[in-house]
């Protein structure tokens, strides 16, 4: 119950934030504008709109997760609003989890709005309705869930700018982790292989969630892979949240 109270308040805070409206508005214009890049054939147009749609959910979701996520705790501490909360009968993990869930709800809302908009644009332009797009969006959301947890984790001990930079860096390297393994195989060095495997294991393997290409080009996906990615996302998030709680638990305010 206390987690829900914190989550709803966090949600309310973001929803009343003008920056969020700016981002959502911008993403909507962005998706709509994909129409302007008018391609040659009907089939192409469909693909471009889907592609742009998924990419913008991913991109704007990332922006929200990082910009709000890294400030989530920092501002509470900096502005001292946390004083009247931690002193109430509430465990610190409940506060942290509430904050996380609140932000996730914000992202979910934004993702839903963008999804509806994409479907509307698709319907207006091509009179098509493609359910499989939802699967792609679901995996984007999974990825955002992990990224939000990363932002929150760094913000338990670092400033928004630092956390933001690190999170963006992890986002980009997270899409390349497979390449690290391939690179290691090529070098044929034992040490490099071991180090690469450790890095591969620690870094979030975000390419697990990237099924945009398959969705847009209607390439079938293996259920085993989808299940693996799903459990990977959930476990990685839980792991990050646990670490965040451990650090947050020890903090003085």
């Amino acid at each position: 119950m206390k987690v829900v109270t914190i989550a709803l308040n966090t949600y309310r805070e973001s929803i009343r934030d003008k920056v969020l409206y700016g981002l959502v508005l911008f993403s909507i214009i962005f998706i709509g504008a994909s129409r302007i890049l008018k391609p040659l054939t009907i089939g192409e147009e469909l693909k471009v709109t889907k592609d742009m749609g998924l990419a913008s959910i991913s991109f704007f979701g990332l922006l929200i997760a990082v910009f709000i996520g890294t400030r989530l705790l920092y501002e509470e501490i900096e502005k001292k609003t946390i004083y009247t909360i931690i002193s109430k009968p509430l465990k610190r993990w409940q506060f942290l989890l509430g904050k996380y869930i609140g932000l996730l709800l914000v992202i979910l809302t934004v993702v839903i709005i963008m999804t509806l908009w994409i479907y509307l644009v698709l319907w207006l332009t091509t009179r098509t309705f493609d359910v499989t797009l939802l699967l792609g969006i679901f995996y984007i959301f999974l990825e955002l869930m992990v990224i939000t947890a990363i932002s929150l984790f760094f913000s338990t001990f670092s400033t928004p700018i630092m956390s933001g930079l690190i999170t963006f860096m992890l986002y980009f390297t997270g899409h390349l982790t497979r390449d690290i393994l391939i690179f290691a195989e090529l070098t044929k060095s034992r040490i490099v292989t071991i180090i690469s495997h450790i890095i591969y294991f620690i870094l979030p393997n975000l390419s697990n969630f990237n099924i945009k290409g398959e969705i847009v080009h209607k390439v079938p996906l293996e259920t085993a892979f989808l299940l693996y990615s799903l459990s990977y996302g959930i476990l990685y998030t839980i792991f990050l949240l646990l670490l965040s709680v451990i650090i947050f638990q020890k903090r003085d305010f």
């Binding site: 206390k2 109270t5 805070e13 934030d17 004083y83 009247t84 002193s87 009968p89 003085d252």
Partner: protein
């Protein structure tokens, strides 16, 4: 029952560079149920640090403390305390009413009960008219008032307030003092820090004086100040020249005005001598008033005393 029990509580702030700072140094203190306890000390004495440890914002480096007989590291005692931090700050995106609902929900107070409580709190702190305005439009005094309201949302048995009188105009200070007194009336314990001394003198049952993280004095105000009777003022009626010169030689100060004699004496022994002198004449003693040191004087005396010791 003992409301707050603090034993050997110590907080050391570690710094990245330079030496660590002992902000609270083996503090031992108990506060009885139902009293108003004033926690006094100059800037940087460690008052805020102590109160933050009691409310779970800081972890003590060593030592223990109990609130309502439960150790502070547990969550249980927090249900029965209210806390107003120093220079409080609240969610800017909420109205005062929404804010109190939020805090009430954290305590798990059921909605109907919460609404009633919030109404009565707005009446208590005088914020009825602005209850639905966003907090970002609030003045400092209004923030302090909403801060007091939130500290009472759970009907706490113990209210901990860090400088509740700061940032308030005289009317605001009087209002807050009246609230503190009414809390005692309801049987609640009030533990507050301040350095506005005249306020303490009027409302505290007991005070503790903290300097450099150490408790240097604790006791009722009368007790503390009794040790420190410095002068006695005596007023006499008309008096002839010879007696006057005798009396004058015994007193530290002697003023004759409006056919009255005002004397300031600096020891009780001399008072007796003066009384004997007066007996021989036909003049009257109008009044004898022992002058207690004001808390302010007492306080600055302690602080400078301590400074001198440190310098040695």
């Amino acid at each position: 029952m003992i409301s707050v029990k603090i034993e050997e509580l110590t907080k050391i702030y570690k710094r990245l560079f330079g030496k660590a700072l002992k902000a609270v140094d083996h503090l031992t203190l108990s506060i009885e149920e139902g009293e108003i306890f004033g926690f006094l000390g100059p800037n940087g004495a460690g008052k805020t640090t102590t109160l933050k440890m009691l409310t779970g914002l800081l972890y003590p480096t060593s030592g223990k403390a109990w609130i309502l007989e439960k150790e502070i590291k547990e969550i249980e005692p927090k249900k029965k305390i209210g806390f107003l931090p120093e220079h409080p700050s609240f969610y800017q995106h909420l109205s005062a009413r929404e804010l109190l609902h939020f805090y009430g929900a954290i305590f798990g107070i059921e909605n109907g009960k919460r609404k009633k409580k919030i109404e009565s709190l707005f009446a208590l702190v005088g914020l009825e008219d602005v209850a639905d305005q966003r907090i970002h439009s609030y003045s400092k005094g209004m923030i302090q008032r909403i801060g007091i309201a939130q500290s009472l949302i759970n009907d706490p048995e113990l209210v901990i307030l860090d400088e509740p009188l700061s940032g308030l105009d005289p009317i605001g200070r009087k209002d807050v003092k009246d609230i503190l007194l009414s809390l005692r009336e309801e049987g609640k314990t009030v533990f507050f820090s301040t350095h506005i001394l005249p306020d303490v003198e009027k409302i505290c049952d007991r005070v503790g004086i903290l300097i450099d993280g150490k408790l240097v004095k604790v006791g009722s105000l009368n007790e503390l100040l009794k040790e420190e009777i410095k002068t006695i003022d005596i007023t006499l009626s008309e008096i002839d020249e010879q007696i006057l010169s005798e009396v004058r030689s015994l007193s530290a100060e002697c003023i004759v005005k409006d056919r009255k004699v005002f004397l300031t004496i600096d020891s009780t022994k001399k008072v007796e001598q003066i009384q004997r002198v007066i007996c021989r004449s036909n003049c009257r003693i109008i009044s004898i008033i022992p002058q207690l040191k004001t808390l302010e004087e007492y306080f600055s005396h302690l602080v400078t005393h301590k400074d001198n010791k440190n310098r040695k």
